[in-house]
Symmetry: C2
Subunit: 434 residues, 2 copies
């Protein structure tokens, strides 16, 4: 059975790859026309999509799935309309393909270009939200990539109808229908992760443990992050109003977000001044406070932190607090326990701020602003594929540029390498042309 399943998966991947190759060389106009065709077809099929989604919702009710999952599963006309608008927003984004990053004359008539091109085939595994399928498909087509999608089983009906309509739309365009494929069984996830010959990038959207599972079980590069353990450090030279307002925003504005803070570090010299006021403000917002011994010495009703707390993304209204001797201790704590997502400092001392920004090893390092700004749309990328906490680029919030790679094109007129070695070797000119 397994081998049979893999054969069919490989066939799907090969088809997607062949279609992706054609898609990858289409003009921007052709790719954008395909997106407009999809938007129109989705508009026309609104009723059909809503009916399919309602079937999923009914099944979900029967299975008594958790309320947040149900909410994510629920599409409804207004969410669908927004998703269709999203497709048209993608049309407006600049073309990520064909950007010339370097143009250099190596010698007369020998011209090197480094130019962006599609990655090839993307493998996307997402959870319940059916509109994710629409968004991802748009971004894949815009960037010239084929895509193999695997949605959550709760959204099966919705996804199957969406794919049918998208493929129907593509028949009227230059994009092959098999450039976009849907896998429908959970077992196929493992198979997809094994397709390192055919799939160039995996983007998992789901729980931290699921992303971790994906990272640990594939040789394909993974774009995304498991934990988002973000910190805010209140330095001794912090402005107290800013410190309180930034802590509240970073913790309570949307605690389930990966860019919300989990740990607050406070310089010992301001702890007794700021903590009582800060604790009151946080508790008014419903935040449970956990702290180290020094914190407990200053305010009451603090739950003692454990080592485990420093490593936990609560994704909830819980905050762990540590009082530190100085900026170096704060930086060391972050570099030891952080997840390299986003960490901030509040201080009026520029020197301390710069030390923090330089020495904290994270995709985002912030001074006097909320960690909640770590987001592709807020950065002005127009779209966000994911937030990467890996060391190598792309890092941090990743826009469409994360779906392309580059190749070097070298054009000559019979140039051979032997001319540039040995006696009478010609020299390279290495003249940048852009």
């Amino acid at each position: 059975m397994t081998s049979l399943m893999n054969v069919s998966l490989i066939e799907i991947a090969q088809k997607t790859r062949a279609s992706a190759r054609k898609l990858g060389v289409l003009s921007l106009e052709a790719r954008n026309s395909a997106l407009e065709a999809i938007a129109q077809e989705l508009e026309l099929a609104t009723e059909e999509i809503i009916v399919a989604n309602e079937a999923d919702l009914l099944a979900a009710e029967t299975e008594q799935i958790a309320k947040p999952l149900y909410e994510r599963l629920k599409l409804g006309k207004s969410k669908l309309k927004a998703a269709i608008e999203g497709v048209r927003d993608v049309i407006k984004l600049p073309d990520p393909v064909g950007a010339i990053q370097l143009k250099r004359e190596l010698d007369t008539g020998l011209i090197l270009e480094r130019i962006t091109c599609p990655l090839g085939v993307l493998g996307i595994i997402f959870e319940a939200r059916p509109e994710a399928l629409i968004q991802i498909t748009s971004l894949a087509i815009k960037s010239g990539n084929g895509v193999i999608l695997k949605g959550g089983k709760e959204a099966l009906n919705s996804c199957q109808v969406l794919i049918k309509i998208i493929q129907q739309a593509l028949t009227k365009t230059d994009v092959d229908t098999s450039a976009i494929q849907l896998l429908t069984t959970r077992e196929e996830i493992r198979g997809l992760l094994a397709l390192d010959e055919y799939v160039d990038l995996i983007i998992p959207r789901g729980s931290n443990s699921f992303v971790k599972y994906v990272q640990d079980n594939t040789k394909i590069p993974v774009l995304g992050h498991a934990d988002g353990i973000c910190h805010l450090y209140l330095d001794k030279s912090a402005d107290l109003d800013k410190a309180i307002s930034l802590t509240l925003d970073a913790k309570t504005h949307y605690p389930a977000a990966c860019n919300a803070i989990e740990t607050l570090l406070i310089h010992q010299e301001i702890a007794s001044t700021i903590l009582p006021q800060l604790a009151t403000a946080l508790r008014e917002k419903g935040v449970e406070l956990r702290g180290d011994d020094k914190t407990m010495a200053i305010i009451d009703n603090i739950i003692p932190v454990t080592e485990e707390d420093w490593l936990t993304e609560y994704s909830d209204l819980i905050l762990s607090i540590k009082i530190v001797e100085n900026g170096s201790e704060a930086i060391n704590h972050i570099n030891k326990y952080g997840s390299k997502h986003t960490d901030g400092i509040v201080t009026e001392d520029i020197k301390i701020a710069e030390q923090f920004l330089n020495q904290v090893d994270a995709a985002g390092v912030y001074h006097n602003c909320s960690t909640r700004f770590a987001d592709g749309f807020r950065y002005g990328f127009g779209a966000e594929i994911g937030i990467s906490t890996q060391q190598m680029p792309p890092r941090g919030p990743v826009g469409l540029e994360g779906l392309v790679t580059y190749k070097y094109k070298l054009r000559g007129n019979g140039h051979i390498a032997a001319s540039y070695t040995g006696e009478k070797a010609k020299s390279f000119t290495h003249k940048d042309l852009i």
Copy 2:
């Protein structure tokens, strides 16, 4: 034993990491001074280094190691002098750290920067050549990275003396001696590959099978490539003189190089014209020819190719030949059997050339020039860390930029995310400042 060894390896890695963090924030002047100190100390210690290398050579003779390996192991005064000059060349390279890739106002007083920074700790595994240690150390310091080195056991004496001298030089500089460490036993390779918490990039230099082993046995990103199966396609509109000259250069100029071709694809319309002349020229250079049925029908004494040949990097004076119906068959063959290193086309037909450059999926795609140009120095990068055949950047020949990543710095004045959501939401300005 194993666990004890791992503990000591982890300690080494932690020390390197701590030193790398300091090194990563040193000024360009401080990093360049450290390089100059190393160059001077190596000059002073020339005799000691040569003596250590001679001990390695003596042991190698006793063990009767292969001649090419012996040649690579042999340092000698002139190679050492060139390596020391290499250190001073690295001083002259532009700083890869601190380059501002993006500077954008998100809103008044809220400024985003994307800025290059060191990766952290590099793990380098190299073979016999002792001067590789000098080159890699220079590039690591220049890019602000710590490095854990593992040289071939044949070069043990040479490497130990080189490291001692380099560390001695560093005591007079701002760079910690423990930023540069040497592992001495083969068993430590596996341990090094498991240090994904402490090592940010592995660069293996060695045989294809060794690189493949490294790629398959670590979760750390690997910079490099296993196979270099490069192709040259002679289109029906090829200029015959260029076709012959480029084939000879790409195959015979340095057949052991990864950018030499292994397979020649010839359009059927020119095969009978060009093949006899080309075969004579290649055979004069000592090249063994293997070919498909159509090739054998045109010239004599051709060894029949097997499927295995298309997948083999000969690294030797052997060339496999296939006659194709058209450009699409050539492109399909390359995309099926190639290693995404470098592939070229010879043609005077610009349209066919562009189709080839766009549709061949490789780090380097060349028109009317030899594949042998795929090289960081020839591209004008000043240094080459390795050639990557992976799909994600960095791809192709990688210079110093392959040893840095970037981080986003966001500086505000109390900006909170809540101001930009809900009713009365402020808008982002997203104004590029560079």
